[in-house]
Amino acid sequence: MNITKHYFQRLARGWVALAFVAALLGSLNASAGRNETLIVVREQGANSLDIQGLGTNRPAYGTSWNVYDRLLSFGVKTAANGDLSYDYQSLKPELAASWRVSEDGKYIDFMLRKDAVFHDGSSVTAADVQWSFARALAVGGFPTFQMKAGSIESAEQFEVVDKHTFRLHLLRDDKLTLPDLAVPVAAIYNASLAKQHATDADPWALEWLKTNDAGSGAYQVEKFEPGVQVVLSRFDAWRSGPLPKMEKVVERVVPSSSTRRAMSERGDVDVSFDLPPKDFAQLIDNPKVKVQGIPVENFMWFLDMNVNMPPFDKLKVRQAIAAAIPYQAIFDSVSYGRAAKLFGGEQAQPTSIDWPQAYPYNTDLKKAKALLTEAGYPDGFKTSLYYNLGLATWSEPIALQVQQNLRQIGIELTLEKIPGANWRGEMGKKSMPFLINDMGGWLNYPDYFFFWNYHSQNGVFNTMSYQNPEMDAYIDAARFAPDQASYIENVKGFIGKAFADVPRIPLFQSNLDVATRLDIQGYQYWFHRQLDYRQLYRK
C-alpha cells in the first residue's frame, strides 16, 4: 500500500520541477519579430470586424479603421500640448486620389486611386463604393444615422460614372458631407467578395463580414478571437498612404487595469490604451513609460437638470446648484487632472467659439444659498441624482461629492444607480430630474453638439428637456451659416444662451490617454478615440 505515498512524492517532485522550469524560462520571453510587432493591451476587445453591423462596439471602430480604407481622411496637426492630433479642418485623399465639387454644387466626383486593391487582390472600384454606402444606409441604426449627419440619405444619391469615378449627388449644401466620408462608418467594402457570402435573408452579408475581412486597408486581419485578441499584419500592397512601419499588431484584451499597469511598467507591452485616469496620473511619474493625452474633442462630463420638473424649472434654482458644485475637487479626484476645466470662466459671455469652453460658474456656497432663498427654497428640497453604473469609475465619485456639497445648502440627494444597459432607456424617457452623464460628437463642430443636446427637436441626448426658440434660432442659423462672421456670431449666441440658462452644468473635458513605451513614436489622437496603427513605429 505504498501507492499513496508514492503518489504524494511524485506530485511534490512534479511541482518543484514545474516551479523551477517556470522560473528558469520566465526570462526567455523575447522572441523573434518583437521589434516589428506592436503589442497593445486594452480593457475590452472588438466584437466584430464590421463597423456597419448591429451592436458593433467601440473597440471595433479601431479595428475597422485600420483594416478598411475610406474615400477621404484627415490631415495631422500639433495640438496645444505638443501631441499630434488629426486635423478636422484639412481633408486629405485616401482611396479617392482627388475629388471635385461640380460648378453648380449639385454633386461631387471622387476619382479613385487606380492602384488601390483589396486584401484579396481585386481592385477597388466605384461599384464597391456605391455598394458600401448603400449598405450603410440599408442596415439601419448607427451607420445610417451617421451617414445622414452628412446629408447622405438615399441610395439614389450614388452614381458609378466609370470604373474609377464615383459621383455623390448632393441633397443640400452641407459642410459635414465631406468630413462625414472620413468617419469609420464610411468604410469601403469589397462588394464582389461580400456578395458571394450574401444570402436572401442577409443580402448585405452582415453575418459573414462580422468575422471576415473584406477591406483594402493598411492592415489585414490575421487572427480574430473576440474577447481575447486581434492580430493584424501589414498589407504590403497598400497604396493609400506611406506604408506603415509596424509589420504586425497584436491587440490583447487584459481586463484587469492593475495587470495592464504592471505590464506597462515592466515594458512588456508597447501601448496600453484607455487606462483609467488614476493609473495614468501615477504612470506619469514612471520614467520608463510615456503618457500622452489630449482632451477628447467635442466631449464633456456634465450634470443635467430636467427643466420640466420642478424645482429645476426655476432659473435661480439651476444657478444655485451651478454655484454649489465642488468643481475643483471633482476635477482633482475624478479626472486626476487629466482633463480640461469647464468651470471658472472669466466672462459671463463667450469671447471665442472654442468648444467646449469653461462656463462662468464657480463654487460659492453663500451665493448658492442666497439664490436658493430667492427662488423660494430657503430650506432646500429633496430630489434624486441619477447616474450610469456602467461608467461608475467616473460617475460615482462625482455623485458623492455633489451630494455632499448640496447637502450644505439644504438639498438632499438620493443617489439612483442605473445599470449600464438600462441607461439609454432611462435617457429616452426623460424622467430623470437630475443626472450625471458624458457626451461627445465625432464631428468637431459646436453646432453639431448643440443640435444633439440643446435643440428643441428634443433628441435623446437632451436629457434636460430644454426647449427654447431663441436657442433653436442660433443653432439653425449656425448650422447653415452663409459666411464665417455670421457663423461666429451665432455660435457665440448659443453658447451664451447655454451659459445663462444653465440647464446643463459642464464639469470637465476628460483626456484620451495612452501609455506607451519610450521607444514608441508617432501616436496621434483621432476623433473616433481609437488607435491608428499606421502612424506608430519603434525608434
Binding site: G140, R424, G425
Partner: protein, 337 residues
C-alpha cells in the same frame, strides 16, 4: 452497479430541467434593455422596436421559453452580442481553458493540502499544526483577486519569474493542434515541448492562485478525518501488532480517511469553477468565467443563459461522477444501493 448508474442518471433529469428554467428566468430578470443597447446611443425609438422584433424579444415570456428550449435541444444557444459569435462555439472554445486551470489548481491544492492535513493530524498542537492552520485560514480569507494581484506583483512585476499575465501562451506562440483543448496535454500529444513549457509558465500562477483558495477545506477535512481514523480501533490494533508506523499511516489510516475528503473535493471543484471568474480577470485568461462576467455587465442574454446552462449541466454531472467514485472507494455505498 449498472442499476445504480441508471437510477442516478434518471435522478439528474429533473435537475437538468430545473437548470434550463432557471437559466431562462434569471437572465430575463437581468436589468437592461438589450434592444436599446444594441441600437446604440443615437437610435430612434422605431429603430429600437425594429431590433426588438428581429431578436423576438417582443414575444411573450412563455413563447420565448418554448423557442429557447427548442433551440437548446437543437444545439443552438443563440449568439453572444459582446463577442458577436455563437454562444455554443464560444463556450466550447473557452471551456477547456477554464477546466484546465481549475483541474491544475485543484491538483496543486491536493498536493499541498493533503500532506499538510496528514502532518498536522499526526502532530496535533505542534508548530506544524498551527502553521497549517494559519496558511489555510489566510488562503481562504484573502480575497482571491487580491492573492492574484499579489502573485502578479511579486512573481511577475518584482521578480520577473512569471511571464506577462496575458493569457494561455505568449504572443508569439501558436496554440498546439487541438485534441482535448488542454494546452498542456495537447502540446505533449503533438510533441511540442517548447509549447508545453510555455503553457506551463502561463498557467502556473493562476493555478496556484486558485489552489491557495482551495487549500483550507481540503487540509481541514483531511486533518479532521485523519484524527478520527487515527484514534479508531483498527489503528490501535495495528499499533499493538507493531506494524511499521508508515504502513499504518499511509496504508490503512489515509485510505480510510479519504472518503470525506473526496466529497469535499467535489464541492471544492465546483466553487473553484466559480472563483475562476476573478482569477481569469486578473490573468486575462480566456475562459468561460471572463466571458460570463462581461456578458452579465451588458445584459447579453444568450451568453448568460448559455453559461448558466453549461455550468448547471456540468455541476449535475460532477455530482453524478462523485457519487460513482464514492461507490468505487467505499464498498458500503455500493452495497447500500
Amino acid at each position: 452497479m449498472f442499476k445504480m448508474l441508471i437510477s442516478r442518471f434518471a435522478a439528474a433529469i429533473p435537475s437538468l430541467f430545473g437548470v434550463l428554467v432557471i437559466a431562462f428566468v434569471l437572465t430575463r430578470a437581468l436589468p437592461g434593455d438589450p434592444a436599446a443597447f444594441l441600437a446604440g446611443p443615437a437610435a430612434s425609438q422605431e429603430a429600437i422596436e425594429e431590433i426588438r422584433s428581429t431578436l423576438e424579444l417582443d414575444k411573450g415570456l412563455m413563447a420565448q421559453f418554448v423557442d429557447y428550449t427548442r433551440n437548446v435541444f437543437n444545439g443552438d444557444l443563440g449568439s453572444s452580442w459582446s463577442t458577436g459569435q455563437p454562444v455554443l462555439s464560444e463556450l466550447v472554445s473557452r471551456m477547456p481553458a477554464s477546466i484546465e486551470l481549475t483541474l491544475l489548481g485543484l491538483s496543486f491544492a491536493i498536493a499541498v493540502a493533503v500532506p499538510l492535513g496528514v502532518l498536522s493530524a499526526t502532530r496535533p498542537g505542534s508548530w506544524i499544526d498551527h502553521g497549517c492552520r494559519l496558511l489555510t485560514t489566510a488562503g481562504v480569507s484573502l480575497p482571491i483577486f487580491f492573492t492574484g494581484l499579489l502573485l502578479v506583483y511579486v512573481f511577475y512585476f518584482l521578480l520577473g519569474w512569471a511571464p506577462a499575465p496575458m493569457g494561455r501562451l505568449s504572443l508569439f506562440a501558436d496554440a498546439p493542434p487541438s485534441v482535448t483543448g488542454f494546452f498542456l496535454l495537447d502540446s505533449l500529444l503533438a510533441g511540442q515541448w517548447a509549447t508545453f513549457v510555455e503553457a506551463l509558465q502561463h498557467i502556473a500562477l493562476p493555478a496556484i492562485n486558485l489552489g491557495i483558495f482551495a487549500l483550507a477545506p481540503i487540509a481541514r477535512m483531511t486533518r479532521a478525518s485523519m484524527l478520527g481514523v487515527l484514534s479508531s480501533d483498527f489503528v490501535r490494533t495495528a499499533k499493538a501488532h507493531q506494524l511499521p508506523p508508515r504502513k499504518i499511516l499511509y496504508g490503512y489510516a489515509l485510505h480510510n480517511a479519504m472518503l470525506p475528503v473526496i466529497t469535499t473535493l467535489g464541492m471544492v471543484f465546483s466553487f473553484l469553477l466559480g472563483a475562476n471568474v476573478l482569477v481569469e480577470k486578473v490573468f486575462s485568461w480566456p475562459g468561460v468565467g471572463s466571458f460570463a462576467l462581461e456578458a452579465v455587465v451588458i445584459s447579453d442574454y444568450a451568453a448568460v443563459q448559455g453559461f448558466v446552462l453549461a455550468m448547471g449541466i456540468f455541476y449535475v454531472f460532477l455530482n453524478l461522477l462523485i457519487d460513482i467514485v464514492y461507490g468505487l472507494v467505499d464498498p458500503r455505498v455500493r452495497i447500500a444501493t
